[in-house]
């Protein structure tokens, strides 16, 4: 099991662009420490569409070159301490975004399109700081109608956690379809799951409806409660006390190191 996680993490190379899901959609916390142990750095993270504990820990471990996100926080446990410190220090690149722009970039990749347009954004400092976005006049409008174009986001790897997979590599994601969008858009997709079942998830229309086909899946490893301390949609709830414990500990670099060492020992 642990070997599986390490083997999956070993596929990550320095400088890769990694897509990670929002805290309630299925964060593969089980992959965080194997990624840190593996040590591939200079990662460009894409939060779909926001980041939390996993992003904060990867930053704290020094693996992150930049973060593209519409927010990073620990939710009820407050701000993300290692992220906030890195921002103050200027030690990571920031690509501040807005939720639908992240979705739009992934959708462009899913469709094989170089970009998709997105309303809103005009006059924001979000747009002003994104030199990788473009503004054109909507060619369908009679008069000037500026609109932002978001380029495709094509991650090298998507990593997330889901309820179950089958022996054939199909993964049940239920209604968390942003996970499918991440997989469609990414070259490789690494998935941890609560359990691996014997029956073909595509054989029954009821399960097929919530299934990401094996076609988009690079590797799967079982990791029970693999989203902890986050919850897993429809399975278990977030352990907010643990998030608070982390938030307190990680206020300092030493506290962060202590927390991570302790977690590794546990």
């Amino acid at each position: 099991m642990q070997a599986d996680l390490r083997a999956m993490a070993a596929g990550i190379r320095p400088g890769m662009r990694i897509a990670l899901p929002v805290d309630y959609a299925g964060v593969s916390m089980a992959m965080t420490r194997p990624m840190i142990a593996h040590g591939a750095g200079s990662l460009d993270l894409v939060c779909v569409p926001t980041g939390g504990l996993q992003v904060d820990q990867l930053i704290g471990a020094g693996l992150v070159r930049s973060v593209e996100t519409s927010a990073v926080s620990l939710g009820e446990a407050g701000g993300a301490p290692r992220f906030n410190q890195a921002v103050k220090d200027g030690s990571i690149g920031l690509r501040d975004s807005t939720c639908p722009a992240i979705h739009a970039g992934l959708m462009a990749a899913q469709k094989g399109s170089p970009f998709v347009p997105l309303r809103g954004l005009l006059g924001t400092d979000v747009l002003r700081h994104r030199d990788d976005w473009r503004v054109i006049d909507n060619p369908f409008a009679a008069e000037g109608d500026p609109i932002v174009l978001i380029p495709a986001i094509r991650p090298d790897v998507a990593i997330f956690h889901a309820a179950m997979a089958d022996r054939f590599g199909n993964v049940w994601i239920g209604r968390r379809r942003e996970l499918a969008a991440m997989a469609y858009a990414s070259a490789r997709t690494l998935i941890t799951v609560e359990r691996i079942v014997d029956h073909d998830l595509l054989a029954d229309e009821m399960t097929a409806a919530g299934t990401l086909p094996a076609l988009y899946v690079t590797a799967i490893a079982a990791a029970p409660r693999g989203a902890w301390p986050y919850g897993l949609w429809g399975e278990y709830t977030t352990d907010t006390n643990e998030l608070i414990r982390y938030a307190k500990a990680a206020r300092t670099e030493a506290g962060f190191a202590g927390y991570m060492a302790q977690e590794a020992a546990a």
Binding site: Y24, V72, G120
Partner: protein, 250 residues
Amino acid sequence: MSGVLLRETLIFTIARLLEGVRMVAVGAASPVPAAGAMLRRALDENERQVRLSVLGSVKHNFFTNGSAELFDAAGQGRLDAFFLGGGQIDGQANVNLVGVGDYPASTVRWPGSFGSAYLYFTVPKVILFREEHSRRVLVDQVDFISAPGVSPAGVYRPGGPVALLTSKGLFRFDKERPGFMLDSVHPGHTAADIAEATGFAYDCPANPPETPLPDAAELTLLRGRVLDELSETYPAFAADWRRDLAAFAA
């Protein structure tokens, strides 16, 4: 009428602001807006279906297409109302959810803009809700525009801010001028208090009225059905509220 808690005034005010909506969404940790929407839903029960989505909630969620669906629904014109907070809000209703100081190396960093840079443009009724009413929050000019209060002619903008609600009062936003106007003052505060605590200029009538309070029937709904509904999603907030009511009764 006395005996109404501040949080009840806020919830009731939000319910008033939501009059006429069909669909409202609230952020993950937003008990007051959620309660306001629940009260609106209860008040409208026999006239109109009010749909409420609480982001990130498994229970109060009727979306099945991932976290993009809220934004899609807004783009389709199906989402009538949404709430934004803001580390800073200025007199042009510009909202800053990113940080203080020179971006990107902010001296104080907040989580980020979330969906504000889109929803502020596309949702017809955006209600700015921030309990802290201080010159630290309500500033003359935000340090970073996550989402602008108004847009120049020619920019596609069916949505925008309609009001700003704080622990002291309610402002309406006039997008033509553009700027805020003090609409009402919550019990226990004065226009002078508010002027003192507000960092931006705004219009103020000679004698701004007191914020309307719920009547007995509305209060019964609030403390009964709405509080019950809220308990499922925000147990801690609901327990606090119940404690305050008990203390008040004692």
